[in-house]
């Protein structure tokens, strides 16, 4: 690891061309790609929402399916960015050597990593909007506050995209990502309040949950779905921004070490 790998990010507006490259590829397969991204969260939300929801009383005064819908927005947003940054990002970094090809042009690695994080966030935005459309269509929420969820999905996507790029920068092969899912993503889904309130957990696990970014995403999104302004919203935003900034910087340092030595 060399000193110049730790330099602050230096990006140029040209990064948009890398984003456009990914967009152009996505556009070719947009329909299948959307279906693949959405089928999983929809089935969870509708299956558990109606199936389990019919057995459950209301959660904090909210029907279970509405409670779950708010969790699903965050879960699906997280997953979209994570899959994009891990599997698709790794294809471009390692398998197809797309980033190496781009580095021979006047583009810098910092531009590429920024574009990839933003692209992951763009995928999150799409997933988030799709779930929101279902929430509106099913009449689970009529609050105009739900519109705030749209910019939030971008922030959540950017955060998990950046964290995913850290793992991608370290990965020797696709198999490596299983660790990240087993040790980070799955625990997060189960501990951060996607399916049930965090307050149901024992105190120790509640403390763990409080440190995880998905908890803060859900604490912002769930009140908005039920038509309330989130409490402590500046704190939750600050935690997400901190994870995002730290993740992006670490991803940048590790990718520089991987490609620019």
């Amino acid at each position: 690891m060399r000193a110049q790998h730790f330099a602050p990010p230096r990006v140029s507006p040209r990064f948009i061309q890398v984003w456009k490259r990914n967009f152009l590829v996505w556009r070719k397969l947009a329909i299948t790609s959307m279906l693949g991204n959405l089928a999983d969260p929809m089935l969870y939300m509708l299956g558990l929402g109606f199936g389990l929801g019919s057995l459950l009383p209301e959660v904090n005064g909210t029907p279970y399916i509405t409670f779950l819908a708010a969790g699903t927005v965050c879960y699906s947003t997280m997953n979209s960015a994570t899959f994009e940054a891990l599997y698709s990002g790794f294809s471009r970094l390692h398998v197809q050597k797309t980033w190496e090809a781009i580095l021979n042009t006047p583009m810098s690695l910092d531009d590429i990593v920024l574009a990839e994080a933003l692209w992951a966030a763009s995928k999150s935005l799409l997933s988030g909007i799709a779930i929101l459309l279902i929430i509106w269509a099913l009449g689970l929420s009529h609050s105009p506050l739900t519109l705030w969820i749209i910019p939030l999905t971008v922030l959540i996507g950017l955060t998990f995209g950046s964290l995913g790029l850290v793992i991608t920068a370290l990965a020797p092969s696709y198999d490596f990502f299983l660790y990240y899912f087993t040790l980070v993503i799955t625990p997060m889904v189960l501990l951060c309040g996607v399916f049930f309130p965090v307050t149901q957990l024992p105190p120790l696990l509640q403390n763990v949950s409080a440190a995880l970014p998905l908890t803060h995403a859900i604490d912002l999104v769930r009140p908005l779905v039920t038509g309330r302004t989130p409490q402590w919203h500046w704190l939750h935003l600050a935690v997400l921004v901190a994870y995002c900034a730290a993740g992006f910087y670490i991803a940048l340092v590790l990718t520089r070490r991987r490609l620019l030595t």
């Binding site: 456009k20 050597k97 781009i102 021979n104 042009t105 583009m107 620019l260």
Partner: protein, 310 residues
């Protein structure tokens, strides 16, 4: 290419060193490239050729030394320099998600070119690469030679002054190699400057006005192919093989020629007077031989040795 009668230096490396974890792979390289020339960087695998190219492009920082590319200090202003450089990498990294046409379009955008300008350049680039009929083809459907030609066309999308080619014909069949060589000659004729790395000596001898032999991170010889042959090696070679070649070498070869080397079954005799050797082979039916002029490969093998490099 001369400007006001003075030759223009497009690339210069001075005292450049680069180590990875205590293992120095580039050990004080000096290199200068003049506008309009085709320069060959030769060396066995692991000699440091690719690292030298990466250093020149500003993709990795030197430990010591000065690098200037197209007048810009590298790595500090490498980005500006790369805007006027084209690169054909050692292994193709064309974008498999795109067609031939899209590969050129998207790559041109990375240079900040406008779509209209790139689209206008694509037909001549496809013609140059012999891929006019393949504009809509997916990369996976192209042969190795076609991919290589597309990589070359892609490197020209920004109309560069200097083109880097890292082992441009490795893995290609003879037909495909000849086509690439013909295209590279055309580029030099148009006034482009080329830096290519290769371990094919016939390639360097055909294309390059000047070559440098690199080994273990150092440049150990430099000049035109003819100069190197004159300077480092006897002008004639007799290759002898067959039963008894070894014993012939022991009894006659060592006395008759300046240098006698053995590689596997074959004895290489380096000499100023091939006829003296040939006379002794007359009537020895068990020995087969080839009498030829010394070439760059002989120089290369003399300078870098016959040991395998992996």
């Amino acid at each position: 290419m001369f400007r006001n009668g003075v030759s223009v230096t497009l690339l210069s490396l001075r005292g450049v060193r680069k180590a990875y974890g205590g293992n120095e792979v580039v050990c004080g390289v000096d290199l200068e490239l003049t506008a309009g020339e085709c320069f060959g960087l030769l060396g066995p695998n692991g000699a440091g050729k690719t690292t030298t190219l990466r250093l020149a492009l500003g993709l990795t920082d030197p430990d010591v030394g000065e690098i200037s590319l197209l007048g810009y200090t590298v790595p500090r202003r490498a980005r500006e320099a790369r805007a006027r450089v084209g690169v054909v990498p050692q292994t193709d990294n064309l974008d498999p998600d795109f067609t031939v046409f899209e590969n050129l379009l998207v790559y041109g955008r990375y240079f900040g070119l406008r779509d209209a300008d790139i689209v206008a350049r694509i037909p001549p680039l496809l013609e140059f690469a012999g891929l006019e009929a393949r504009a809509a083809a997916r990369i996976q459907t192209l042969s190795g030679g076609m991919k290589r030609r597309l990589s070359l066309a892609r490197a020209l999308v920004n109309d560069p002054d200097l083109i880097f080619l890292d082992e441009p014909t490795t893995g290609l069949d003879p037909q495909a190699r000849h086509l690439i060589w013909e295209r590279l000659k055309r580029l030099v004729a148009e006034g482009k400057t080329i830096l290519l790395t290769t371990h094919f000596m016939d390639e360097a001898e055909r294309l390059c006005r000047r070559v440098a032999v690199m080994d273990r991170g150092r440049i150990i010889a430099e000049g035109s192919p003819q100069q190197l042959i004159l300077r480092y090696i006897e002008p004639q070679v007799v290759e002898i093989y067959g039963d008894g070649a070894q014993s012939w070498a022991r009894e006659q070869g060592r006395v008759l020629c300046e240098r006698c080397e053995q590689a596997g079954e074959t004895v290489f005799c380096y000499t100023r007077d091939g006829d003296r050797v040939l006379v002794t082979l007359d009537g020895r039916e068990e020995l087969r031989y080839l009498h030829r002029r010394a070439n760059l490969e002989d120089v290369f093998l003399k300078l870098t040795g016959r040991d395998l490099r992996d």
